[in-house]
């Protein structure tokens, strides 16, 4: 009887007083995650739980380094996953792993395999969750959104704001949030933050009475320079005048500039595309995004994919039956022409589905400053005679270039009725280039001050 009472007692204490707290504070399993789903083998699992996690994780990471040197990237992925599970506080592995997954899997022409992006984002998210006391993984994840994924600036801002809240963030990295606000079209917030950062930098510099820390001065000067430049841009782009309810007719961004976009895609060989078109904008910073993807690619949005929606877990196997190719088309003499050969990378471009879409996309927020001076932060300064090339619903609160052309698997693989024919898809306004056309150097048209066009 006594033993039975003790048995019930231990079960109650164990399940009420010990297990929940252990689960919260000491368990190697994180909330919402399953060790079983982590694909660890039995021996790996034993290592993970037997008390030598940090040592084994460290040794594995050194081993991964040798794979980096030999370019054996596939071998690194499972090691990264294992190391982050064994030792979730090794931030370097999360940061390097995220970069590796996001950037290093490429085709023969160095185009990234973007099907890996959700895993890269998920790894960054996991790293931040595991290490909430430091800014590092918040910053790294933000950087992935900003630099690699490029046009989901709200996500980049969200992560950078979280990094900004951490005490250990480096001054130069703090400044990046102001840049991101600008990219995200939050110009008011950007200028407000620049002023705040400027005040803080000035105070820190004054506190350094011995004037020994040169980096403080550099940081203050950098912030001032950026602040000045942004103020000038805001003024020149008519930001202040618009806000004050004044006239908005005599600025670089108004009247809108006709980008004159048109495109034609020719399938010159099996999985080989020749893309030609017109784009009436300066060369530098004018890369137009071209995407070829399954027509029903999961979570597809105009010109991209909602990678955030897909970044639920770190999955080392991207969807092998899906095709997603993204390329930047370089513009020269107001034209672009590019041959894209996907035939050498069958695993990256399996082309299993029946229907595909080729998309052209240009987001003015990703453009360099001199282009933005024409187009504005939100694309208000760009238009196209063929208005169907402009989209105001692709991204909230802005105007982007967007055109899409449907294409079939048979056309891409030159099969069926296309065995002896050359498949061509093009925008309605595409006009063939004059055969006598001679290429001349780019005409550089620098935006002028208001009224001095």
């Amino acid at each position: 009887m006594g033993a039975a009472a003790l048995f019930v007692g231990q079960a109650v204490i164990g399940n009420v007083g010990v297990f929940p707290l252990w689960s919260k504070n000491y368990s190697p399993v994180r909330e919402g995650k399953s060790l079983v789903s982590a694909s660890l083998s039995a021996d790996q699992m034993l290592f993970a739980l037997a008390g030598f996690r940090e040592l084994i994780a460290g040794i594995l990471w050194v081993r991964a380094d040798s794979f980096f040197e030999t370019g054996n990237y596939d071998a690194i992925l499972p090691i990264i996953r294992l190391v982050t599970m064994l030792d979730p506080h090794q931030i370097d592995v999360f940061a390097t792993g995220m970069w590796h997954i996001g950037y290093n899997f490429t085709d023969e022409d160095q185009r990234s395999d973007r099907r890996y992006l959700p895993s890269a984002v998920a790894l960054g998210t996991e790293g931040a969750e595991e290490n909430p006391e430091t800014y590092e993984m918040f910053f790294e994840t933000s950087w992935l959104w900003y630099h690699k994924i490029e046009d989901n600036y709200p996500a980049a801002v969200k992560w950078m704001e979280l990094a900004h809240q951490k005490q250990d963030i480096l001054p130069a990295r703090r400044n990046l949030l102001a840049r991101l606000y600008e990219r995200n079209g939050q110009v008011d917030k950007s200028i407000e933050l620049w002023f705040k950062l400027s005040d803080e930098a000035e105070k820190t510099l004054k506190a350094d009475t011995e004037k020994r820390n040169y980096s403080l001065r550099t940081n203050r000067d950098t912030i001032e320079g950026n602040l000045d430049t942004l103020l000038v841009r805001m003024s020149q782009r008519g930001f202040f005048n618009q806000k004050a309810g004044g006239s908005y007719t005599d600025y670089d961004t108004n009247p809108p500039f006709d980008v004159g976009f048109s495109a034609k895609v020719t399938v010159v060989d099996e999985k080989v595309l020749k893309i030609q078109g017109t784009w009436n904008v300066l060369s530098i910073g004018s890369r137009i995004r071209c995407v070829l993807r399954d027509a029903d690619y999961p979570d597809a949005i105009k010109g991209s994919v909602d990678w955030e929606a897909q970044a639920k877990s770190v999955n080392l196997d991207p969807p092998r039956d899906r095709t997603y190719m993204q390329e930047g088309l370089f513009v020269r003499n107001q034209r672009f022409e590019k041959k894209i050969d996907m035939s050498r990378d069958p695993t990256m471009y399996p082309m299993v589905g029946k229907n595909y879409v080729i998309e052209f996309y240009y987001n003015p927020r990703s453009a360099p400053a001199h282009i933005q001076d024409k187009f504005g932060w939100n694309g208000e300064g760009m238009t196209d005679k063929n208005l169907s090339n402009m989209s105001t619903d692709a991204r909230p609160g802005m105007k982007v270039l967007y055109a899409s052309l449907p294409i079939t698997k048979e056309q891409l693989l030159l099969r069926g009725e296309w065995t002896d024919k050359v498949p061509v898809v093009k925008t309605a306004n595409y006009a063939e280039t004059d055969k006598n056309y001679v290429e001349t150097p780019d005409k550089i048209d620098i935006p002028g001050l208001p009224g001095k066009k």
Partner: protein
């Protein structure tokens, strides 16, 4: 109580003379001594690796010592027939069992204490970080409860199971009680886990001893980890251990009482 203390004292003396235990202890101390050299093998901060390794060595060797010490304790007495001379005196069987258990726990405390001293000296002398070394003592305290629980399981099983079988059985229970809880936790935290699986995990975790509760090394290895209610947790874990030890000893006493020797 006197017979219990006398048997416990004799058990301690016997334990520290057993060569196999001394060899395990020697290997553990040797590994602790070379532990600082392993830091260079890893990309991680040297002290982090050292802390993890030292705690791992102490825990693993203590578990091996605890099992080896207790599985042979009663069978050896029967085999060597020394039990007859003891039980012919005014000593109850339960007193004999409790005395043996307390002796084993005391011997375990001496050996773990020795390893703890070596590890504290290691951090103090080689890493110049006495505070870190001393902070490990809280983990050793929890390990001690864990090993006492393990010893109670082994001694309980030794009343009705052959030593070799007991060795693997206790080892298996320790493994499940340590690693299995991470799986149970995994079930609980996974929203997609089947309800039946969660129910089974609950039943099994209510029956088996939870050795994982005493694995509290994570915040020591990664000091930035935030821990909620550590004191309350420690009190609950110790209480849980005492309850379970008592259950094991009561079952052991009942079985030993019916055993023909």
């Amino acid at each position: 109580m006197r017979p219990v203390i006398a048997i416990a004292k004799a058990t301690v003396g016997e334990a520290i003379r057993r060569r196999v235990l001394l060899i395990i202890l020697f290997i553990a101390i040797l590994l602790l001594a070379v532990a600082p050299l392993l830091g260079v093998l890893s990309a991680r901060q040297e002290q982090t690796v050292l802390t993890g390794f030292v705690l791992g060595i102490v825990q693993l060797s203590s578990a091996v010592i605890a099992i080896t010490l207790t599985v042979y304790m009663l069978p050896n007495e029967v085999e060597r027939r020394t039990i007859y001379t003891i039980l012919s005196k005014p000593v109850q069987r339960w007193q004999f069992l409790i005395g043996k258990y307390l002796g084993a726990v005391a011997a375990l405390a001496i050996m773990m204490g020795l390893m703890a001293v070596v590890s504290v000296l290691e951090f103090g002398l080689f890493q110049q970080d006495w505070a870190k070394g001393i902070s490990l003592l809280q983990a050793y305290g929890m390990f001690f409860i864990q090993m006492s629980l393990l010893a109670s399981v082994a001694i309980c099983l030794s009343t009705f199971v052959a030593p070799l079988v007991n060795f693997f059985l206790t080892g298996g229970i320790y493994l499940i009680g340590t690693l299995g809880y991470a799986f149970f936790d995994s079930f609980n935290k996974n929203p997609n886990a089947p309800v039946l699986g969660k129910g089974m995990a609950f039943i099994v975790s209510s029956i088996l001893p939870n050795f994982a509760s005493y694995n509290v090394q994570n915040p020591l290895i990664n000091p930035e980890t935030t821990i909620q209610n550590p004191t309350m947790y420690a009190v609950n874990a110790v209480l849980y251990g005492l309850f379970y030890i008592m259950i094991m000893l009561i079952i052991g006493m009942l079985m030993f009482d019916r055993k023909e020797v």
